[in-house]
Amino acid sequence: MKKKLLSAVIAGFMAATPVMAELTFSALSYRTGAYGNNGIPFADGYLDYFTLLQERDGGIGGESIKVIECETAYNTEKGVECYEATKGEGVLSYSPLSTGITYQLIPKVTADGIALHTMGYGRTSAKNGQIFRNVFNFPANYWDGASVGIKHLLDINGGDIKGKKIALVYHNSAYGKEPIRTLEELSKKHGYELTLLPVDHPGQEQKSQWLQIRREKPDYVLMWGWGVMNPVAIQEAVNIRYPMENFIGVWWSGSENDVLPAGAKATGYKALAFHAVNSDFPIFDDMKKYVVDAGKAAGAGDQVGTVLYNRGMYNAMLVSEAARTAQAIAGKSNISQADMIKGFEALEMTDEKMAALGLAGFGPSFSVSCENHGGDGMVAVAQWDAGAGKWNVVSDFQASDMSVIQPLIDEDSGAFAAENKLSPNCD
């Protein structure tokens, strides 16, 4: 039995022996499991963008693109298997789309010298590139999100939220706990009062939390949710008639999947975003022309233009731009994994570049450096309009409050450095 399987595995494994001729990227996606319904649009966007480059431009800098998709089901072990299975093929960068898997891969990619790009998730303190040499989490991380969320509240309150009551409804996991520290620091600074409301996975049942919100009437509710927790929370908020415009979710709580089940009453719900959340950009015409209509779309092809699709696409765009940068630096089109890291480290996203890509204003302009792998933490606020069935960005992209965040980052990355006997350096 076992022997037979083994041989079959060998067969399957051999079927995927390294081909270094092209630029290889990995898509550690999850289309199944508890979070599958959010993983699908992201994966589709990520894959479609590369397909677009391939179909329209014949790849990046003349090199054709190969993307290996690997299903992780948001499961760390599968993630490791995917990494080990694909790294042999000269994959230039990984985007695991799971905080858990990110923590798996950080030591591995460090040892193997491969770039790891975690956009809006993962280990926040990886922003400190002097310690996490080949881990990148631009353009924004959770602590930026928390900070900008508070900034938004400051803006709509004329700069003063002293004595306001703010509740954080969070997924009771590593991911959900991320913003707590930042919010506590900020509450010291701005004098608001923070209530923590954990919701255990999966978050199907949140009556207790929302009854408490109804009783204590916090002025604002922030949410760090994921999966089914989001629609349930928004539904409950609607049920208790909580003013939706005072309810702000992180970017992982701001997709159509989350608001649609609650119907019309969800209008006004806000969510943070570090990229555009609708589909009126020139690139989508190309997307339609070269990918969807050509029948080359990943998945069902029905997700184009949704928030998570855009995020996947944005992620792919940043990765491919990093590859271009790497090609420019290396002076050759067929770049190595080491070149790719340099590319990430020197990446500059200017408005011109974005415009040229048909993505004018899709995301903030920012630049990466060795000291700063996290970009400028530019985050905007989007609001849901159930009538029109679309999200609208209602604020400018604004930077997070580094005076609060930087110390936290130094602390955490310092701890990591000490634990692993690393010395910060940029050479």
Binding site: T32, S208, R215, P231, N239, N257, L260, A300, G301, D302
Partner: protein
């Protein structure tokens, strides 16, 4: 009256409501267990599957479209029709009956007379299979389920309680509705089992397989029937939870909410399931309300189990089972 007490009352009421939903899921377990001694772990997945099927039928999804497209390279997704809820529900019931037949025919026909634990494990296997099968058939995207159930705060209760305590209680219309449905469902089951031939046969089987056989009751038929009824209960539960949270993977986890209910109420007693459900619902909500803040909240996942565990340690037969006398 002190606020905390008023709040506690509100929490209590909502606990009752939540308990009804738990009981609804537990009901499916009890039915099958009574009639066939099978502890059906797949009940939760059945609820998910039923809800998926309902949405799929109503929205005119093409079953297995992913698979078909992958193999044939086609791009089929929708039939392009939208059916009214009633038709959807009816056709889903039919599908659940077919499912019941298949389950009995393919699996449990071959496991008659096995120890309970083997049957239990078999249903875990069934649960896994149906999880994959359901996703394969309808896709794993989240689906909005709307069969026109009312949802949101009940204003009447809000006002009346406000006039009494000058604090308006929050009761979700959906929960009230669920309670009514559950009541009707239980009433229906009682009538069915008391006054119909099949029902009496079912009770006979529950009491004693051999005896039932000897008076010419077809076990096979009864079991298929029971699985069908359980499938129907699953559909109802699926609709309730699906309306709350949309139809998606996590629906299957509601089975985990029902297990402690069963341990409390005993696996064989329908009233037990209901009372057990209410106790768990109220217990976990009140615990979260009182003790939760002190120990950091999110206690609901384990409270029910620990409570059930403690009860069992002192009453191994559960709250409603009768004492077990060991003999050699």
């Amino acid at each position: 009256m002190p606020d905390q007490l008023v709040y506690a009352m509100e929490v209590f009421l909502n606990g009752l409501m939540a308990g009804v939903l738990y009981a609804l899921v537990a009901l499916g377990f009890v039915l099958i267990y009574k009639a066939s001694g099978i502890f059906n772990y797949a009940q939760g997945v059945m609820a998910l599957f039923a809800a998926m099927t309902l949405v799929g039928v109503m929205e005119g999804q093409v079953p297995f479209s992913h698979l078909i497209n992958a193999i044939l390279g086609t791009k089929v997704h929708h039939f392009g029709w939208h059916l009214p809820a009633l038709i959807g529900i009816v056709s889903t019931v039919v599908i659940m009956v077919v499912l019941a037949w298949l389950v009995q025919r393919i699996i449990f026909k071959h496991l008659v007379g096995q120890e309970p634990i083997i049957l239990f494990m078999a249903t875990i296997g069934l649960a896994y299979f149906m999880e994959g099968f359901g996703d394969m058939m309808w896709g794993s995207e989240i689906k909005k389920l709307d069969v026109g159930l009312p949802q949101g705060i009940n204003l009447w209760i809000d006002e009346t309680t406000y006039n009494i305590f000058d604090y308006g209680f929050f009761i979700d219309n959906l929960d009230i509705f669920a309670t009514i449905i559950a009541a009707i469902l239980v009433g229906g089951l009682v009538i069915f089992s008391q006054y119909t031939k099949e029902g009496r046969a079912m009770r006979a089987v529950a009491d004693d397989h051999q005896a039932a056989l000897s008076v010419g009751v077809s076990l096979n038929f009864i079991w298929i029937m029971v699985w069908s009824v359980a499938g129907f209960v699953a559909l109802v539960a699926g609709i309730m939870w699906g309306t709350k949270s949309g139809v998606q993977f996590s629906l299957s986890l509601i089975a985990l909410k029902a297990l402690p209910v069963l341990m409390l109420g005993g696996f064989t007693s329908i009233p037990g399931a209901i009372v057990g459900g209410l106790i768990i619902g109220v217990g976990e909500k009140l615990f979260e309300f009182t003790v939760g803040p002190l120990i950091g909240g999110a206690t609901e996942n384990w409270f029910a189990y620990v409570l059930a565990l403690l009860v069992l340690v002192f009453r191994p037969q559960g709250l409603f089972g009768e004492k077990i006398i060991e003999r050699v």
